[in-house]
């Protein structure tokens, strides 16, 4: 169809375009010829008039007159006709001066039509101006056109016939092989890589067929290699290893390597063993077994050639084959010859080919020795296997590393939990010490007044025995006062415990309206007395400057208490440490200030300790960072405090410090 279309197009081109172009050229040439005649005659007329030399015009006019195509040649005289009304307007009048032949009536404007072509050429002399009108018949052109069309038609027929013959020839020699190639390409596109086309001819089509066959072969090999990579790299554990032998078996078939046994030997120099994967004669896996380097002669040769990176070839006869099989049986890798050979008899002749790759040797056994190109295919397969196997090994290493990391992470999490618990316990200890101190005071009063009351009762009994009524009454009054005081201090202790309980009863994660001023005051005192309980030598001034306009705000009171306890403890720790430096006139001081901001509450905790060095400033909120000696701090206090304020309350915790001057922590909590 294509060839026919091309032939038709070419034939139509010859039939229509070619004659049309020729006719146009002919017409152009004809017009130019007539125009040149007219110009020549006009030039002759001009010379005749101006120089009285009539030879030129005579020659030109003779030449024109003798032409059979001439219809007429006319000399038109142009005259200026002035208007009668004035001397400005005028017209050019044209009159026929002479015409050859005389009998023709000439239109001075002279127009061409289908039958004749009229051309004019002007001349101008002082005596006379005008133009030559020359009219030629178009009969000759018409005849020429007819001849061109006939020639075109003949050429078209010849081209068409020749084209058809060429078309049939091409169909036989090009189209059929090309169509076969197309069908094969379709099948290859659908994944059938066994396609090939016959390529007997030595022309371009034959070369195309050869190139196609090579391409399909290359594709087949690449697909095989890709399958090997995919399967081997997809292995994840030992249970996947038996896949190796069937994969190699299958892909050796795919790439067209002749063989009847195959296998893979992974060489472990460190352990001096060869991890062997061998097939049965029907492509089944014999399993995996370790062959020590010295177990069989072939093992040592394999290692030597693998280390040298060389392909190793060996030929076995039946006896050598059976020796190998018995070695395997002796080592306990196979149970019997049937396990190794199935129903097939041992080969009389076996050619063993071992192709090296990064991790070992790929084995191909065959009746005949493999050709170089077949060994090349095996080498490509071995390289693909090596890459995939390396990935498998990498994956195994990664799995091990991942397991180690997961264990380490679990341990770390456990340690972190313990540390956080330790931090909580430390806070609790400090809190307990403060609480104990708070309760101790009223208890002291209770105890003291109770002891005094016991003494007073003894006195009361004595006075009653002595009937000293006045003293009895006085002692009774004192007893009453003592009991009131005991009751008062008992209530005080009770209220302290009640307050603690209120804080401890708060549900975790539930915010409650809290008086920040009271909380600040309470925890400042608890912290101070807690520290005093641990260290009797510790002493510091502390002040609470509360803003009475501070509203109650919803906070996690236990958490906020822990934050304040942490920050105040740090402040007392800092001033105590500096006090021990023996700076003259130094008075340790901790000030807690509350302040109402616009839609927020600010708590400032300021100390005049040693301040925080600038290089440590960016680390102080990091978990486990502490400057305290080992055992005194967990390094989680500020980190947890920061999280409680920012994440738990949506607030902000900032620090303003200057070395040698002191530190101020600023808590901002939204209302």
């Amino acid at each position: 169809m294509t060839v026919l279309s091309v032939v038709m197009m070419f034939a139509l081109f010859i039939l229509f375009y070619f004659p049309a172009r020729q006719e146009r050229l002919l017409l152009e040439n004809y017009n130019n010829e007539i125009e040149n005649f007219a110009k020549t005659v006009a030039l002759g007329v001009k010379i005749a008039i101006t120089e009285q030399n009539f030879e030129g015009v005579e020659t030109a006019i003779d030449f024109v007159r003798e032409d059979d195509r001439l219809q007429f040649v006319s000399l038109i005289q142009s005259d200026t006709i002035w208007a009668e009304a004035n001397d400005i307007d005028y017209t050019i009048g044209k009159t026929v001066f002479k015409t050859f032949p005389d009998s023709v009536e000439v239109d001075t404007e002279g127009h061409s039509d289908d039958n004749h072509i009229v051309k004019s050429a002007a001349f101008s002399t002082p005596m006379m101006s005008g133009e030559i009108l020359l009219s030629f018949s178009t009969e000759e052109i018409v005849e020429s056109k007819r001849q061109i069309r006939m020639a075109s038609l003949s050429a078209t027929l010849v081209v068409f016939v020749i084209g058809l013959l060429i078309g049939f020839w091409l169909a036989g020699n090009i189209s059929k092989p090309v169509l076969a190639l197309r069908d094969a390409a379709h099948k290859v596109g659908e994944g059938d890589l066994t396609q090939s086309v016959s390529s007997n001819s030595k022309d371009e089509v034959g070369e195309l067929g050869l190139a196609f066959n090579k391409m399909v072969k290359d594709l087949s090999v690449k697909a095989s290699l890709e399958r090997v990579r995919s399967v081997i790299a997809g292995m994840r554990g030992k249970e996947d290893l038996p896949q190796i032998t069937p994969v190699i078996w299958q892909e050796l078939i795919s790439v067209g390597v002749p063989f009847n046994r195959c296998g893979v030997f992974i060489i472990d120099e460190k352990e001096a063993v060869i991890e062997s994967y061998l097939s049965t004669p029907d492509g089944q896996s014999l399993g995996i077994f370790n062959l020590p380097f010295g177990a069989h002669e072939i093992a040592g040769k394999l290692v030597d050639n693998w280390q040298a990176g060389k392909i190793y070839y060996e030929h076995w006869n039946k006896k050598e084959f059976l020796e190998w099989m018995h070695t395997m049986m002796d080592l306990g890798h196979i149970e019997s010859s049937r396990t190794y050979q199935g129903d097939i008899k041992p080969p009389e002749s076996l050619n063993l080919h071992f192709v090296p790759f990064d991790q070992g040797m790929l084995y191909v056994g065959n009746d005949e020795q493999l050709a170089d190109d077949e060994l090349g295919l095996v080498k490509a397969l071995a390289d693909a296997f090596a890459i995939a196997y390396a990935r498998y090994e990498d994956f195994k290493s990664l799995e091990k590393a991942k397991n180690k990391t997961e264990i380490a992470l679990e341990e770390l999490k456990s340690t972190q939990t313990q540390l956080i618990q330790s931090e909580k316990m430390a806070s609790l200890g400090e809190l307990t010490a403060g609480i104990a101190h708070e309760i101790q005071n009223p208890l002291n009063f209770v105890n003291n007044f109770a002891e005094v009351s016991v003494d007073l009762i003894e006195e009361l009994n004595e006075e009653m025995e002595n009937n000293n009524t006045e003293d009895v009454e006085a002692i009774k009054e004192d007893l009453k006062q003592n009991l009131i005081k005991i009751n008062h201090h008992g209530h005080r202790a009770s209220s302290i415990v009640k307050g603690m309980l209120e804080h401890s009863r708060t549900d975790a994660g539930a915010k409650v309206l809290t008086d920040i001023n009271a909380l600040a005051d309470e925890y400042l005192r608890l912290a101070y007395h807690g520290l005093r309980a641990k260290d009797k030598s510790f002493n510091a001034d502390f002040t609470v400057n509360t803003d009475d306009s501070l509203p109650k705000i919803n906070v996690l009171s236990q958490d906020l208490g822990r934050v304040m306890l942490n920050l105040i403890n740090n402040a007392f720790y800092a001033v105590a440490k500096r006090a021990k430096e023996g700076i003259e006139g130094y008075k340790p001081n901790v000030v807690v200030t509350t302040k109402k901001l616009d839609k927020a509450v600010e708590i400032r905790l300021k100390d005049n300790g040693g301040g925080i060095p600038e290089k440590l400033l960016e680390k102080i909120f990091q978990p486990f960072f502490t400057t305290k000696p080992t055992g005194e701090g967990t390094g989680l206090g500020l980190s947890l405090s920061y999280d409680i304020i920012t994440k738990g309350h949506g607030g902000d915790l900032k620090v303003d410090t200057e070395e040698g001057v002191g530190t101020e922590f600023i808590i901002v909590l939204p209302e």
Binding site: V45, F54, I61, L75, T99, M127
Partner: protein, 151 residues
Amino acid sequence: MISMRHKIICFGLSLLTGVLISSSVMAQNNLTIIGSLESVPVELDMSQLQAVLKGEQMRWQDGTKVKIALMKTNTPIGTVTSEKIYDMSGNELNKYFLALVFQGKVKAPAFFNSESELEAYVSQTPGAIGVVQSTSNDQINVVVIDGKKQI
């Protein structure tokens, strides 16, 4: 005062000058018809001469083609020739021959700038006839017109 004698002398000189100029003009208006030694008759009448020079008679009696030789109309002789023989102005003469040549009715005349060239042409061209003022060339014949060597 100019004396009478002087007046008479002046008048005499004026008269003499007038006579001399008049005789010169007379001499310039005279035309001599010349012809080649072959084919061209030595005597013609005026009407025959005009028929030949106007292209109406195109061959001599022996069959030789008539070839006309004239001085260009921008020369004095050419002007006189136009007037005396063709009874036309120079331009009219040109148009006359242009029309004839254009239609192929006559062989175009040959026009010359000098009498010597014209005489040479006539002497070398069989059947040639030309018009000059006068000639002493013995290679050509002077054609007598109406019995006169000059017209």
